[in-house]
C-alpha cells in the first residue's frame, strides 16, 4: 500500500512537471542612443493570439500602442484570450541605454512570448517580439529586437500635441527635449500599410525649420534597438 501510494505520488509529480507554469525573469535593455520606449507590454499567450504580425495590417489595438504608446487595448484583448501579461515594468518611459527587469509567470498553455513598446520620437515606430517559443529548458536566453513600423501613420516626423491619437498624424512627444519645431513634414502618405521593418527616421539639422522636427544627429537608429534577456527558471 505504501509503495503504491508512493508510486502514484511520483507519477503525479512527473505529470505536473511538464505542464507546470514557468517563472520568467525578464530584462529589456534600450540599446539606442536617443530613443525612449513607452510603457512596455510583455505577454505569454497561445498560438491563437498575436500582438503583431509582420506583413499583416496592424490591429486597432496595435495602432493605439504604436502611435500613442497606449497599451490598454492590447491588454484587454490579451486578457480576453487568457494570456499572462506584465504591464509597464519601467513605470513610464525607458530612457536610452537603460534597462528594466521584471517577472512574468506563464500558464502551461501560454507558451509564446511577445513584447511591444512604442519608440519616441517616432510616428508609429515600435520595438517588438512576435510569438517567440518559450523554452522548457532552464537557462538564460538573449534576443535582439528590431524597430518596426505599424504602417498606420505617415512618417511626417512632426511633433504635434495630440499626435498620439490614432488618426492624428504626428509624434506626441520627444521626451529628451531635443526635437525641433516648424518642420514642413517629411511625407503625407504611407504606402505600405503592413507591419514592416522601420526605414528609420530622416531628421534634419535645422531645429527651427526644415522638413522634420527630429534631429538627424540624435534621433536616428539602426537595428537592433533593444536586447531582451529571458531567464527560464
Amino acid at each position: 500500500m505504501k509503495i503504491k501510494s508512493l508510486i502514484s505520488t511520483i507519477t503525479l509529480v512527473a505529470a505536473s512537471a511538464s505542464t507546470m507554469a514557468q517563472d520568467l525573469d525578464i530584462t529589456l535593455t534600450n540599446l539606442s542612443q536617443g530613443l525612449y520606449f513607452t510603457p512596455i507590454l510583455t505577454t505569454a499567450h497561445t498560438s491563437d493570439s498575436s500582438v503583431f504580425s509582420l506583413a499583416t495590417a496592424a490591429s486597432a489595438e496595435l495602432q493605439a500602442m504604436a502611435e500613442g504608446g497606449d497599451i490598454s487595448g492590447l491588454v484587454s484583448m490579451l486578457s480576453n484570450a487568457n494570456a499572462n501579461t506584465n504591464e509597464n515594468p519601467a513605470s513610464g518611459l525607458l530612457a536610452p541605454a537603460m534597462s528594466t527587469s521584471y517577472m512574468l509567470t506563464n500558464d502551461s498553455t501560454n507558451t509564446l512570448l511577445s513584447l511591444t513598446t512604442m519608440i519616441l520620437p517616432s510616428n508609429d515606430g515600435f520595438v517588438g517580439l512576435d510569438s517567440w517559443t518559450i523554452p522548457t529548458e532552464v537557462g538564460t536566453y538573449t534576443i535582439m529586437l528590431n524597430a518596426y513600423d505599424a504602417g498606420t501613420e505617415a512618417n511626417n516626423e512632426l511633433i504635434i500635441d495630440g499626435g498620439g491619437a490614432p488618426g492624428t498624424a504626428g509624434i506626441p512627444a520627444a521626451p529628451g527635449g531635443d526635437a525641433g519645431t516648424n518642420g514642413s513634414g517629411v511625407t503625407n502618405s504611407e504606402t505600405n500599410m503592413m507591419v514592416h521593418i522601420h526605414r528609420g527616421t530622416l531628421g534634419d539639422d535645422d531645429l527651427a525649420a526644415g522638413k522634420s522636427d527630429l534631429d538627424n544627429r540624435v534621433h536616428r537608429w539602426l537595428n537592433p534597438v533593444a536586447k531582451l534577456t529571458i531567464v527560464v527558471k
Binding site: 509582420l54 517629411v186 511625407t187 505600405n192 514592416h196 537595428n223
Partner: protein
C-alpha cells in the same frame, strides 16, 4: 518497398499438411480474424526508387518601399554563391545590379533552380517549392535584389540541407548586402527599379569590387543632391524574412 508473395494454403492435397494447415488456420483465424489466410514470403528488395527531397521556401518583403526582384532559389553542392570580402561573380553582379537571374541560375554548379515570375512588393510574401532527387544537391541558396538601389541584394547562401528533418521549419531574418560592383551613386539612369527605371547591369566595376554588408541608401531627402531616391527608399536590416520547410 518490399514485395510480398502470398501462397494460398487451401489448395494443399497432402493429408498431414491439411491437418497442420487446419491447426495453423485456427490459430491464425483466432489471431487475426481474417478468412483469406495466407503466409507472406518476403522477397529480396528491388533497387530503391530515388528519394525526392522537397523544400518550401517562403520569402517576406519587410521593407517599406523596396520591391524585390524575382526571388530565386537554387540547389547546389557545398559552395557559397557570394562571400563578404570576395569579388562578386558576373552572374551575381547581373542579379544585384539588374535583378536579372538568367546567368545566376545557368551557372554550372546549379543543380536545380526555381524562381518567381515577377517582383515581390513590400508587405507581401512569396512561396517557392524546390525539389530534387539528386543526392549531390546538398546545399541551398536564396537571393533577390532590392530593385530601388544600385546593387543591393539580400539572401542566404550555402545552407546545408542535411540538417533538415522532414517537416522541420527554420526561419531567418536576412540582412542586405552590397555586391560592390557598382558605385552607390543613386543617380538617374543607374537604378532599375520603379524609382528610376534606369539601366540595370553595367559591366564596368566602379566600386570596391568585394561583397560587403550594405551601408543603406542616402536619398535626395537626406542631402544627396543627385539621388533619384527619396526618404521612402531607405531601409534597415533585416530586409527579408526567410522560412524553409522540408516537405519531402
Amino acid at each position: 518497398m518490399s514485395i510480398s508473395l502470398f501462397i494460398n494454403l487451401k489448395n494443399s492435397s497432402n493429408k498431414l499438411a491439411t491437418i497442420a494447415v487446419s491447426v495453423l488456420m485456427m490459430t491464425l483465424l483466432s489471431a487475426c480474424n481474417d478468412n483469406n489466410t495466407s503466409i507472406p514470403v518476403v522477397m529480396p528488395e528491388p533497387e530503391p526508387e530515388p528519394t525526392e527531397y522537397s523544400y518550401q521556401v517562403t520569402v517576406t518583403n519587410l521593407t517599406y518601399a523596396q520591391p524585390l526582384s524575382p526571388v530565386t532559389v537554387v540547389l547546389h553542392a557545398d559552395e557559397k554563391m557570394w562571400m563578404i570580402g570576395t569579388s562578386a561573380s558576373i552572374a551575381l553582379e547581373k542579379l544585384a545590379e539588374a535583378g536579372d537571374n538568367t546567368d545566376f541560375i545557368a551557372q554550372d554548379s546549379i543543380i536545380t533552380s526555381m524562381s518567381d515570375d515577377g517582383v515581390l512588393m513590400p508587405g507581401l510574401s512569396s512561396m517557392i517549392t524546390v525539389s530534387t532527387t539528386d543526392t549531390s544537391a546538398t546545399h541551398l541558396s536564396v537571393i533577390t535584389m532590392l530593385v530601388n538601389t544600385n546593387d543591393a541584394f539580400s539572401g542566404l547562401t550555402g545552407l546545408e540541407l542535411s540538417n533538415f528533418d522532414l517537416d522541420q521549419t527554420n526561419s531567418w531574418n536576412l540582412n542586405v548586402y552590397d555586391a560592390g560592383t557598382e558605385a552607390n551613386s543613386e543617380m538617374a539612369g543607374t537604378i532599375p527599379g520603379p524609382a528610376d527605371g534606369g539601366v540595370g547591369f553595367d559591366e564596368m566595376r566602379d566600386d570596391v569590387n568585394v561583397v560587403t554588408l550594405h551601408p543603406g541608401v542616402v536619398s535626395q531627402d537626406d542631402g544627396l543632391t543627385n539621388s533619384v531616391l527619396t526618404q521612402t527608399h531607405r531601409f534597415d536590416n533585416p530586409a527579408i524574412k526567410l522560412t524553409i520547410t522540408r516537405i519531402k
